[in-house]
């Protein structure tokens, strides 16, 4: 629970920040936190963080432009009956929003990387989230990895049989793999459900949660970090023209 509250606190701080520095600083803090407390290797963390980072960059590119009837600002070009313009305001806005999002995504990402999904669903259950939603969330999470593994095996098998030798063959192979993956997931889901039923499954996925040693550092340090971030948030309030 403290870990979840800490990450949520950091996320809220990032969203409320008025200066891009806070988002950038927060993403570094969360990386260090995941390394020290979650024992997540930095390389692995950064590798997996490339995906949300790519998404943020893409969103930033879109935010840079605004549509108006008059061409103005740093850069503009005609588009349809108006102009797409990049102005000083849109650049500053993009920087702030992107860094806010970076901080918030880092907080969620660190939570995901350091917390077992059973602990997350356990917290959701304690917060009175319906059983059905928690169970579905858990099963979907597990299936993503299972499907990913099966997809990898199928792809390797296809590669071994020249399944990607040219564009046309690649398309046919990809279509075949996804078709088979659908059939496989359907069969696998049925088999898993039978196995769960045979162990008295009643519609709610429950596991014994881990035994955690009470460690004051794991409560006190997150509280200090959140307070520190709130302090930085208050100090760095001004950002030009926004």
């Amino acid at each position: 629970m403290p870990r979840v509250l800490f990450c949520l606190g950091m996320m809220v701080t990032a969203v409320c920040s008025a200066h891009p520095f806070l988002g950038a600083e927060l993403s570094v803090v969360m990386l260090l936190w995941a390394r020290v407390y979650g024992k997540v290797p930095v390389g692995k963390y950064l590798r997996m963080f490339r995906l949300p980072l790519g998404f943020l960059a893409l969103s930033g590119l879109v935010l840079l432009w605004e549509y108006s009837s008059v061409g103005e600002g740093i850069l503009s070009f005609s588009f349809g009956s108006g102009y797409l313009s990049m102005t000083r305001e849109t650049v500053l806005r993009t920087i702030l929003v992107t860094f806010r999002a970076l901080g918030a995504v880092s907080a969620l990402f660190a939570l995901g990387m350091t917390t077992p999904v059973t602990e997350l669903t356990g917290v959701l259950k304690r917060l009175h989230c319906p059983d059905l939603i928690c169970s579905l969330m858990y099963l979907m999470y597990r299936y993503i990895f299972l499907m990913y593994q099966v997809h990898g095996n199928m792809k390797q098998a296809a590669e071994g049989r020249m399944g990607y030798m040219d564009y046309r063959t690649s398309l046919r192979t990809t279509a075949g793999i996804y078709g088979n993956l659908l059939a496989y997931s359907y069969r696998q889901a049925g088999a898993n459900f039978d196995a769960m039923e045979s162990r008295c499954f009643d519609g709610s996925v429950r596991f014994l949660s881990g035994k955690y040693r009470k460690d004051w550092r794991k409560t006190v340090i997150p509280v200090i970090l959140v307070l520190l971030e709130i302090g930085i948030c208050i100090c760095w309030r001004s950002w030009p023209a926004v």
Binding site: P116, V117, T118, L139, R142, F145, L146, Q149, Q188, A191, N192, D194, A195, M196, E197, S198, R199, C200, F201, D202, V205, R206, F207, L208, G210, K211
Partner: protein, 286 residues
């Protein structure tokens, strides 16, 4: 021996299938029994197991748990599933949790036991299958043999009286097959009745006190290994082979027929170029 499960004229047919997957099966299983189930692919072994565990509801016939007829009320089904544990052929079908300890706790948690009781059962089951050092590992990262042990611990933690193992040795290497046999012996020592589906006639001959043979959904034989393998017509009809040690014993006229190499070579000399000398001359003149 106390009766645990009894099937009376039990039949099952899958939806939209014309053929019966299981037809008029009647038998009784008692505590402490070691039973091997033989039969070619599609003979009905897996369907038989699923009916015994209550995943499939028979279309005809009755099922009795410790003398009480199952009327398929929710409480009775849960009671049946707790008493009769089923270990699936593919361990991956059974493994759903993020860590081994969580995985083993799934069944006991469903039985709504206290947290302390669940913790005790999980620890006992992990210790029995020598999995304590893997308890924080993800089940999907384990080897085939370890996964199989986890799937057995899954059921063991529910403290069943009867365990059904659907082809547990398939996809295991020889070392893990031996380990599996040791674990089966441990479960037998705990007093759990074991029913194992297999294609390995040598294992069935060596391990089981009783053998069931399924053919086209019917239970065509139920008896001791000596009776089953003596029936040439039955063996041919069911697409089976005779166990190697059974054949050696028959050729050399050894009585009782050896079930292990140790019984064949009682002095423990092992197989060497001189071993043939201690065997009697073949009884059929060969």
């Amino acid at each position: 021996m106390d009766e645990i499960l009894r099937l009376k004229d039990l039949s099952f047919r899958y939806e939209e299938e014309k053929e019966w997957a299981l037809k008029e099966v009647s038998l009784s299983i008692s505590s402490g029994e070691k039973i091997a189930v033989l039969g070619n692919n599609g003979a009905g072994k897996s369907t038989f197991f699923r009916c015994c565990n209550g995943i499939l509801r028979p279309k005809e016939g009755s099922l009795y748990l410790k003398g009480e007829k199952i009327s398929w009320k929710k409480k009775e089904i849960l009671n049946l599933r707790q008493s009769v544990g089923l270990i699936f052929q593919e361990a991956d079908h059974q493994l759903i949790a993020g860590t081994v300890a969580e995985e083993v706790s799934f069944g006991p948690m469903n039985l709504k036991l206290s947290e302390q009781e669940v913790r005790n059962r999980v620890e006992k089951a992990l210790a029995a299958m020598e999995l304590l050092k893997y308890q924080e590992k993800a089940p999907h990262e384990l080897s085939g043999g370890e996964k199989k042990r986890v799937s057995i611990a899954d059921i063991l933690a529910m403290e069943p009286e009867l365990m059904l193992l659907d082809e547990p040795a398939s996809s295991l290497d020889p070392v893990n097959q031996s380990l599996l046999e040791e674990n089966l012996e441990k479960l037998h020592q705990k007093g759990i009745a074991l029913v194992v589906a297999t294609h390995d006639v040598d294992f069935a001959w060596r391990w089981a006190k009783r053998i069931l043979i399924f053919h086209q959904g019917r239970l065509v034989a139920d008896g001791r290994g000596e009776e089953i393998f003596a029936d040439e017509a039955l063996i041919e009809k069911s697409g089976l082979k005779k166990p190697l040690l059974y054949e050696v014993g028959k050729i050399y006229g050894i009585s009782p027929l050896p079930k292990t190499l140790k019984e064949l070579l009682p002095d423990g000399e092992g197989i060497s170029s001189g071993s043939a000398e201690i065997l009697p001359a073949p009884s059929d003149g060969r």
